[in-house]
C-alpha cells in the first residue's frame, strides 16, 4: 500500500522525537569540543583535546567501562539462565501456576531506586537482617563497604530487579511456540532434557537473542542502583560508565569533558551491541 496519508501516520511521532532530540545531540557534540566547566562556563573551542585526554590520561573511565562490562554481562547471563528456568517451570502445569507467574513478574514492576533503598537496609552491615542471620554462624560480611563484595551486592539487586523482565519475554515466547515439534519429540520418546536441547532451545533461539540484547542495552545504563546502594564506592569499586559520566558532568561540572565521555561511550556501545548481536546469532542459531 502506498498513499500520501502515510506521512500523516509517521511524521507526528518522528518529528516530535527529532525535535526533542536534535538539540541535545547536536549540543553534546559541540560541547565535547569545548572546555566548559564550573570555572570557565563558556562554549569555547579546544578541538579534540577532551578526546585526547580521554584516550591517553583517563584510566578511571576505562576501568569503569570494564567494570560495567563485567557487571552487565554477568547479571544478564544470570538473569537469562534463571529467567529461562523459571519460565520453563511455570510454562508447564504446576500448582498455583498463575500465582507464581504474577509473583515472578512483580520485581520488574517496582521502582529500582526505591527497592534499592530497601535493599540498602536489608544489607545494612550492623542492622540488616542478612548479617543478623549470618551472625549466628559468626559471619559479618561487609556487603556495602568491601571492594569485592559490593560488586556482588549490586549484582544481587540487579538480578532480583530484572530477572522478571527476562522471564516475561521468555515465557511469552514459550507460550507462542507451535505445539507440533513437541508432539513429534514425545512420539520419538525424547525425555525432558533431550526435548529441551533439540526442540525448545533451538525454537527459542531468536526470542532468546532478542531478550538478551534488550536486557544488555538496559543493563548497560545501570546507574540508579549504584547511586543509591554504594554511590560507586567504596572508592571506585562499583563505579560504572554512566555513574562516572554523572560524576564528571553533574558533580564536578566538567560539562565539556563529560560530553566527550558520553559520545565515546555511545559509539563504543553501538559497536559492541552490533558485534554482540552477531556473536549471539552465530552461537545460538548454529544448530539449525
Amino acid at each position: 500500500m502506498n498513499f500520501k496519508h502515510k506521512y500523516l501516520f509517521l511524521l507526528p511521532g518522528l518529528l516530535v522525537l527529532l525535535a526533542i532530540l536534535i538539540f541535545p545531540i547536536g549540543f553534546t557534540v559541540r560541547l565535547s569540543l569545548s572546555s566548559w566547566d564550573s570555572f570557565y562556563p563558556a562554549l569555547d573551542f579546544i578541538g579534540i583535546e577532551n578526546y585526547v585526554r580521554l584516550f591517553t590520561d583517563d584510566a578511571r573511565f576505562w576501568e569503569a567501562f570494564g567494570r560495567l562490562s563485567l557487571l552487565s554481562v554477568t547479571t544478564v547471563f544470570l538473569q537469562y539462565v534463571i529467567g529461562f528456568g523459571l519460565a520453563l517451570i511455570v510454562w508447564k502445569e504446576i500448582a498455583f501456576q498463575r500465582f507464581f507467574r504474577v509473583l515472578f513478574l512483580i520485581p520488574m514492576m517496582t521502582t529500582p531506586v526505591i527497592m534499592t533503598v530497601i535493599w540498602r537496609t536489608f544489607f545494612h552491615e550492623s542492622l540488616g537482617p542478612v548479617n543478623d542471620i549470618l551472625s549466628h554462624f559468626n559471619l559479618a560480611p561487609l556487603w556495602l563497604s568491601s571492594e569485592t563484595l559490593s560488586k556482588f551486592t549490586v549484582m544481587i539487586v540487579e538480578v532480583w530487579q530484572w530477572t522478571p523482565f527476562m522471564f516475561l519475554l521468555l515465557l511469552a515466547g514459550l507460550l507462542s511456540l507451535p505445539k507440533e515439534p513437541f508432539l513429534a519429540a514425545s512420539i520419538d520418546g525424547a525425555g525432558p532434557i533431550r526435548t529441551f536441547v533439540y526442540v525448545t532451545f533451538p525454537l527459542m533461539a531468536p526470542i532468546s537473542i532478542g531478550a538478551i540484547i534488550i536486557r544488555l542495552i538496559e543493563a548497560s545504563k545501570i546507574m540508579d542502583t549504584v547511586y543509591v546502594l554504594t554511590s560507586g564506592g567504596p572508592g571506585t569499586a562499583t563505579e560504572t560508565s554512566s555513574f562516572y559520566i554523572f560524576i564528571k558532568g553533574l558533580r564536578e561540572f566538567q560539562f565539556g569533558y563529560s560530553a566527550a565521555l558520553s559520545l565515546t561511550y555511545l559509539i563504543i556501545m553501538i559497536i559492541s551491541f552490533t558485534i554482540i548481536a552477531k556473536i549471539l546469532v552465530k552461537l545460538m542459531v548454529r544448530g539449525n
Binding site: M1, L8, I106, I118, L175, Y265
Partner: protein
C-alpha cells in the same frame, strides 16, 4: 527420577519466591517499627520481636515541617507525568508504528527498517548522556522544574517502547484487513481508526503497560531536572535516604509507591495466559 525432577522444580520455585518476597516482607515489618526497634539490631515479627506502631505510616500524611515525608503530592505528580508521557507516546508511537508496518518509506539510503531502528535505538542512550543537554535546553525554555518539562523528556524515554511493541504487533495483523476496509470505502485514516484500531487493543494495552512501568520507575531524569517546585515519587523517597534514615517511614513510603504497579503484574499475567502477549511481544 520423576519424583526427583518434581521436587527439584518445587524447590527452585520456593527458593526464588522467597528471594522475591524477602525485601517486601522486610519493608512491611520495618514500616511498623520505631527508632528503638530499628537501632537495636534486626527484628522481624511484630509483638514478638518488637512493639509495632504506626509512626512510619502516619508520617506519610504529615508535612516535612512536622517531621513527615509528604509523599502525597509527589505521588500525584508521578501519576500525572507517567500517564501523560505514556498517553502521548502511545498515540504518536502507535501511529508511527502503523506507518512503518504498512507503508514503504524511501529517502536516500533510508528505509523503513532504519526509521524503526532510529525510534528504538533511543533506548541505548543512557539517561546521563541526555541529562546535561536537556538540563540546558529545558532551562532555555523555562521548563526546568516543571511537569511539562518532565513530560517532554518522558516522551523520548517511552516512545521507543511503544514503537517497538506496536510495530511487532501490527506486523502480525494481516494487511488484508486494512485493504478490505479501503475497498469498502474507508480512506486510510478511516481504515485505521474504524478497523485497525479496534482490533489492536491487546497490543495497545501491552504497550501502555510497558510505558507505565518504565515511566513510573524512572528516577534519573526527574532527579536531575527538578528541584523544589516539582518532585516525583522516586526522588522524594530517595531524598529520605540521608544520613539518619527514618527507616520506618522510608519503608512505608516505598511500599506505597510500589503498590500501584504490582497491580499491573496481574494484568500482564492475564494477557500472558490468554496468549495475547505472545502476539505483542516477540
Amino acid at each position: 527420577m520423576r519424583v526427583l525432577y518434581t521436587s527439584l522444580k518445587y524447590l527452585a520455585v520456593v527458593l526464588w519466591s522467597t528471594f522475591v518476597i524477602a525485601p517486601f516482607l522486610w519493608a512491611v515489618s520495618t514500616s511498623f517499627k520505631d527508632f528503638q526497634s530499628v537501632t537495636n539490631g534486626a527484628t522481624y515479627i511484630p509483638w514478638v520481636d518488637f512493639e509495632p506502631n504506626l509512626e512510619g505510616w502516619r508520617a506519610l500524611w504529615k508535612s516535612p515541617a512536622q517531621g513527615g515525608v509528604d509523599i502525597v503530592e509527589p505521588f500525584f505528580n508521578s501519576v500525572f507525568v507517567t500517564a501523560s508521557g505514556s498517553l502521548i507516546s502511545i498515540v504518536l508511537g502507535t501511529l508511527a508504528a502503523y506507518a512503518l508496518s504498512r507503508f514503504t518509506f524511501k529517502a536516500g539510503f533510508i528505509r523503513n527498517g532504519d526509521i524503526t531502528f532510529f525510534f528504538i535505538s533511543q533506548r541505548i542512550m543512557p539517561p546521563v548522556v541526555l541529562a546535561i543537554p536537556f538540563f540546558i535546553m529545558l532551562g532555555k525554555f523555562s521548563l526546568l522544574d516543571t511537569l511539562a518539562g518532565l513530560i517532554i523528556v518522558y516522551i523520548v524515554l517511552l516512545m521507543p517502547i511503544a514503537v517497538w511493541i506496536m510495530v511487532d504487533f501490527f506486523n502480525k495483523v494481516p494487511v488484508e484487513i486494512d485493504e478490505t476496509a479501503l475497498i469498502d470505502g474507508c480512506n486510510p485514516l478511516q481504515a485505521f481508526y474504524k478497523v485497525v484500531l479496534p482490533n489492536s487493543i491487546p497490543g495497545i494495552i501491552v504497550a501502555g503497560m510497558f510505558c507505565m512501568i518504565f515511566g513510573w520507575t524512572d528516577f534519573f531524569f526527574s532527579f536531575i531536572l527538578t528541584f523544589t517546585e516539582v518532585q516525583l515519587l522516586p526522588v522524594a523517597i530517595v531524598a529520605l535516604n540521608s544520613s539518619i534514615t527514618p527507616w520506618w517511614s522510608l519503608s512505608a513510603a516505598a511500599l506505597v509507591s510500589v503498590a500501584p504497579l504490582v497491580l499491573v503484574a496481574f494484568i500482564v499475567e492475564r494477557y500472558l495466559s490468554k496468549g495475547n502477549l505472545s502476539g505483542a511481544l516477540k
